[in-house]
Amino acid sequence: MPSHVSHSSGLQRLIAQLAPLLIVCAVVFALPVLLNNDFLLNKVARYLVLGILTVSLGLSWGFGGILNLGQAMSFGLGSYAMAMALKLKTVPVHTGASGLPDFMVWNNVQHLPWFWEPFRSLSFAIAAGLVVPALVAAALGWFMFRGRVTGVYVSIITLATMVVINLVIIDQQSYTGGFNGITDLAQLEIFGVAFDAYGRATYYLVAGCVLLSLLVAFAFTRTKAGLIVQAIRDHESRVRYFGYDVALYQIFVFALSAAIAGLAGMLYTVVMEFASPTFLGVQLSLSVVVWCAVGGRQSLVGAFLGAVLVAGMQGALSESAAFLETWTLVMGALFVLVVLFLPKGLAGLAQVVLRWIVQRRQAAGRGVAQGVGQTEGST
């Protein structure tokens, strides 16, 4: 009997935890019905992709306690993987016989470099967009976590790594397109479905990936490994004394988060129709941290909504340049205030409010019951 009770309450809790996630995804999927404007739909898809990126940070920061200030690095690597494949699919206009990308021709490159060759295959590119960020993260994580580096040092090393990779991409202009990035891409085509950046298909592709990444991240936090990762966040040495290989779990969550960010990066290339060094810039990486903190770092749905709402607001205000500049100032202030007074972000605030409502209702219910008892007693 007690086991049955705890089982059903566990199930109830699972449903309660999944409900916000499913509601948000339902709204995401329903949006094209209400929004009959391709341009707006493309914009929303962009914000959704940034939402996925923020969820990936929430996974490593909120659940793993690893504040990765270079989250955009994985995002950028994913986006370049997709852009390289789509670039090779274009019909070259100004290029030589071997179908070199235009910027290589401009830089007097004679042959396609070896690391571009495999990107002729789209499936390789998609796999690379997931695996390369994960491998880079795992390698970096091996050095950091095996060396038992924690806290602020992880943040700084991830930030520095991203800055350096960004510089290298800008520097190696003849192989990466340099400062301009990779532009003039072909359309993504999978199983005969063409994904036009302004089409419904692309929106649903993004929406599907939102659902997928939220579910994967959520499922991970419920597994044993996910629980251990959270235990490490709360008290690292205690978990180590229990005999767990702390670094291994940290490397895993770090790499998983990077793979999700890589997925977001690939989608971003499809939605934006180019890849650029700014995709792995400090500015974006910073924004992701802000969105995650505002939405609620320990809530996946909170992090997602934080990104979509704040980035959406920024997009809506960016029509005038003066407003945009003030907006950055406002965002900085908002960020500081959230860090100081709302460490769990809007999701934490929502939880407090919900709990307060439930308690009030219970108290009111008890009051009514008492009132009924009294009237019964008096008659």
Binding site: L69, R148, V152, I156, A160, T161, T328, G332, F335, P343
Partner: protein, 289 residues
């Protein structure tokens, strides 16, 4: 041989700039455990202060160094008092708070004076060049080297030979015991942060004649300075000096053979590998947490 000496001198020059920027960062992290991501913006404020003093008040760079130190230190004091002191028990969150403050400072400067590049004049007395080991070197770079060593010396004296320094070291060892002996920890922390910020401001002012001044100039400096602190290890002023010059020589040397970007990448790679085998940094015994 001449070329070799020239490389050494270039490395020393890069190292002295690194030391200037990293010193304030190292003090703040080593004593308060705060990673100050607004440090680059303090550097930027110092550079803009030099520009403002020169353009609007006609003050030369050397004459305005003391006021610049005081102005940027005041900024630091306010930020510690009204933002960071609220985050006593959340060290990881101080990264975020200082980052937020950094964005605001950067954006505020961009709104007020615009994002175009500004230039600060070299002090006329130091615009010539002099001979070091038979190599012609700009006098200003020699001056920077001397100033960075002098500031390091002053900081060391402040930490080890003054009452404030002793109080600070007591607080680092055990804040509550120090407080029970009547040391005002809040005040000492605010002063420390202000001092670190002032040093960053000085660094910004001093490098401003060498490079152009822009609102986002701080980002590059702060990343390099963090590398210095990571390599040198925390709570070791001597480690900061040594690693600043090691990194200076290394970057200068690789940049001579390849280019600046490759130098940055190789230096970073070396630091990441080093951290695996010597996580406490080159010059300290304490494991970082």
């Amino acid at each position: 041989m001449d070329q070799f000496i020239e490389q050494i001198v270039t490395g020393l020059s890069i190292g002295s700039i690194l030391l200037l920027v990293a010193l304030g960062l190292s003090i703040i992290y080593g004593s308060m455990g705060i990673i100050n991501l607004a440090h680059g913006e303090f550097v930027m404020l110092g550079a803009y202060a030099a520009w403002v003093f020169h353009t609007y008040l006609g003050l030369g760079l050397l004459a305005s160094l003391v006021p610049i130190f005081l102005v940027v230190a005041a900024f630091g004091w306010v930020i510690e008092r009204y933002v960071l002191s609220l985050l006593n028990n959340r060290p990881l969150d101080t990264i975020l708070a200082t980052w937020g403050v950094g964005i605001m400072l950067q954006q505020a400067v961009r709104l007020m004076v615009g994002s175009e590049l500004r230039y600060v004049q070299l002090p006329p007395a130091l615009s010539s060049s002099m001979s070091v080991f038979g190599i012609p070197v700009s006098s200003y770079r020699v001056f920077l080297f001397v100033v960075s060593i002098a500031l390091f010396g002053a900081t060391w004296l402040l930490m080890n030979r003054t009452t404030v320094g002793m109080k600070l070291r007591a607080i680092i060892q055990d804040r509550s015991v120090a407080a029970s002996f009547g040391i005002n920890a809040k005040r000492v922390y605010a002063l420390t942060f202000a001092y670190g910020a002032g040093l960053a401001g000085l660094a910004g002012a001093l490098v401003s004649p060498l490079k152009s001044v822009s609102p986002d100039m701080g980002t590059g400096y702060v990343v390099d300075a963090f590398m210095v602190v990571v390599l040198g290890g925390v709570q070791s002023l001597a480690g900061t000096v040594a690693s600043a010059f090691i990194l200076g020589e290394l970057s200068g040397g690789i940049a001579f053979l390849q280019n600046d970007t490759v130098a940055k990448a190789i230096v970073l790679l070396a630091i990441v590998v080093l951290i695996r085998f010597r996580p406490e940094g080159l010059f300290t015994a304490r494991v970082r947490a």
